[in-house]
């Protein structure tokens, strides 16, 4: 019986000729990662086990991005705990605030060339699934799994079934990867792909830049998926050539395609030209609407950034749409470039000036408001249009605040209009 892309990667990493959906396997890991919230509990487990050394100091990645620059003493202690451990273990991929390689984990890790096609990665962060965009198998785990993976370089997986998503045609104006993934989540629900892989195919894939694919894979978890993976094509290889020229030149990666008779649980076709500018209303990412049909929904705040939408293309798009415009009275708009590199690009290209002229707050890279950490927490009754990934009850602050998820164009338009709006109204 044929295997899916995901199953082939897992079989190779388990040293097995083939695997089947439902098999429990132990797989070798190419990268293992954690952040300032999830790593300290993992360190406690690691040390409690009597472990001395991580399995490979070059394969462990640590990024303090959630509550940084630290919001209070306790969060500073979390960062300190991870920093000390990283130094002691000589972790080569520990990133410090302000370094040019630094930023939000799922923005910088691919951008620093740390993920290659065919890799298997676990991260103690649910959005680790982002790296599926590069043709890798990547999935989120908790802190104990992280600790054990840091010790052994291996973890167990249940081999997933898969949903095939065929992307056809080209997206319309202002329609981004965010609209596509929200649209899909709206179709299948927040548990529509529970325990399964999402595998994206079709002629529409080539219409999507790497940044757009990263956004789509990033939110695979929001419909319960174990991973969300794209096939490797010219766009992927160009990205690898740019981000890791050495390993690209050595062909130190592996491209997997599904077998012709691979088993898919279900096939979903999405005509990209029919995907509307999409928003997800409170309080689930599956509560989607055509943005143009949301009338008179006033807002207090807009957030542009996060591991979902803080990449160069996102910030560039925001600057282009904000040019010559002003943030509406009564609205705060917080722009958070996803990495130091994106921040610098925005500085060099004059995008920061556009944001400043428009009346936006410009923040250093951080997850901050996405999880109600800091840098834009909401009060009771406040409503925010956000390019982040979750709009659960209380996600960005008060239990009676609201988050509406959108792509960058709708977020900018909403900031300018002071209500949920589309860029066609600008």
């Amino acid at each position: 019986m044929g295997m899916t892309m995901t199953q082939k990667i897992l079989a190779d990493h388990a040293g097995l000729p083939e695997v089947h959906a439902g098999d429990l396997i132990e797989a070798r890991l190419d990268k293992v990662l954690g952040n300032d919230v999830t790593t300290p509990p993992a360190i406690k487990v690691f040390e409690g086990m009597g472990a001395r050394k991580v399995f490979d100091k070059d394969k462990v990645i640590m990024v303090p991005d959630h509550f940084t620059p630290n919001k209070d003493i306790k969060s500073a202690e979390l960062s300190q705990c991870m920093r000390c451990f990283a130094r002691k273990q000589e972790i080569s991929n520990y990133f410090e605030l302000g370094q040019k390689e630094m930023g939000i984990e799922h923005v910088i890790i691919p951008d620093n060339g740390l993920i290659l096609p065919g890799d298997t990665i676990v991260g103690a962060d649910s959005h680790t699934c982002t790296y599926g965009a590069l043709g890798a198998f990547a999935t989120g785990v908790g802190s104990t799994d992280l600790a054990c993976a840091m010790v052994s370089g291996k973890t167990w997986f249940k081999v997933p079934m898969a949903i095939r998503v065929d992307l056809a045609r080209k997206p319309g104006p202002y329609v981004t990867g965010k609209d596509i993934i929200l649209h899909l989540i709206g179709m299948i629900g927040v548990d529509g792909a529970l325990y399964k892989s999402l595998e994206f195919f079709g002629e529409g894939v080539k219409e999507l830049s790497m940044d757009q694919r990263l956004t789509i894979s990033n939110m695979a978890i929001e419909c319960g998926a174990k991973n969300g993976i794209f096939p490797v094509d010219e766009i992927t290889l160009d990205y690898i050539a740019k981000t890791n020229p050495e390993r690209f030149a050595n062909k130190d990666y592996k491209v997997y395609m599904p077998d012709k008779d691979a088993q898919y649980d279900m096939t979903i076709r999405i005509d990209l030209d029919k995907v509307p500018l999409t928003v997800a209303l409170p309080h689930l990412p599956s509560n989607t609407r055509d943005a143009s049909e949301v009338k008179d929904m006033k807002i207090d705040q807009v957030v542009i950034g996060s591991c979902t939408n803080g990449r160069e293309e996102d910030i560039k798009m925001a600057a282009e749409l904000f040019a010559g415009k002003k943030v509406a009275d009564g609205v705060r708009c917080i722009v958070i470039p996803g990495s130091q590199r994106v921040y610098r690009k925005a500085l060099d290209e004059g995008w920061l000036k556009v944001f400043d002229d428009a009346g936006c707050v410009i923040s250093t890279p951080t997850c901050g408001p996405c999880l109600g950490g800091h840098m834009g927490v909401l009060a009771e009754g406040e409503r925010c249009v956000s390019t982040t990934n979750r709009n659960f009850v209380g996600r960005m602050g008060h239990v009676k605040s609201e988050v509406i998820l959108s792509g960058v164009p709708v977020a900018v338009a909403s900031a300018v209009m002071g209500r949920v709006a589309t860029p066609f109204e600008l």
Binding site: L24, V45, T144, D145
Partner: protein, 164 residues
């Protein structure tokens, strides 16, 4: 091994942000986390929960963030078992890893009421609603997961299977 307690019943898609909001994640101390458990979905939970009680929920319990703080908070609050129609996959792993007992049983969710007294046997998978007298059978754990549980959690399992 069996447990007995009163049922706290919730709906579908209970996410880890409502189980333990991120504002409390600057500490992973179980007592601290337990004092805020379920705060954003049921502010009365912490006041009313007693050692041994059971959470019963619909599908996709524990969706969202990978925070292990969520099963830790539930376990430390005294809850002896979470029964759900289905669990989000990271929560499922985390619960096994931190030793929070979980059972998948759609029938139990459909029929058992909030406030009922239930008893569950982990060895047989039998869930009995003492209040109504009805019984249900939970889905059995795969062999490999049983091994992790029997070893006393993932840490013990990993210790016995690799050179630490």
């Amino acid at each position: 091994m069996s447990v007995k307690g009163k049922v706290f019943k919730y709906g579908n898609d209970v996410d880890t942000d409502v189980i333990i909001p991120a504002r409390h994640l600057t500490s992973s101390d179980p007592v601290h986390l337990a004092s805020h458990c379920m705060e954003d979905i049921d502010p009365e939970f912490v006041k009313n929960v007693k050692r041994g009680d059971v959470i019963l929920a619909g599908c996709n319990f524990g969706c969202g963030s990978s925070r292990e703080h969520a099963p830790i908070a539930i376990k430390a609050s005294g809850v002896s078992l979470v029964i759900a129609e289905s669990f989000a996959r990271i929560f499922y792993r985390n619960a096994i890893n931190v030793g929070l007992p979980i059972m998948e049983c759609p029938e139990a969710y459909a029929i058992i009421n909030a406030g009922d007294e239930v008893e569950a046997d982990f060895d047989t998978g039998v869930i009995r609603d003492i209040t109504t007298g009805q019984s249900f059978i939970a889905k059995p754990f795969p062999e490999f997961i049983k091994k992790i549980i029997d070893a006393g959690g993932l840490v013990e399992y990993t210790k016995s299977n690799s050179e630490v």
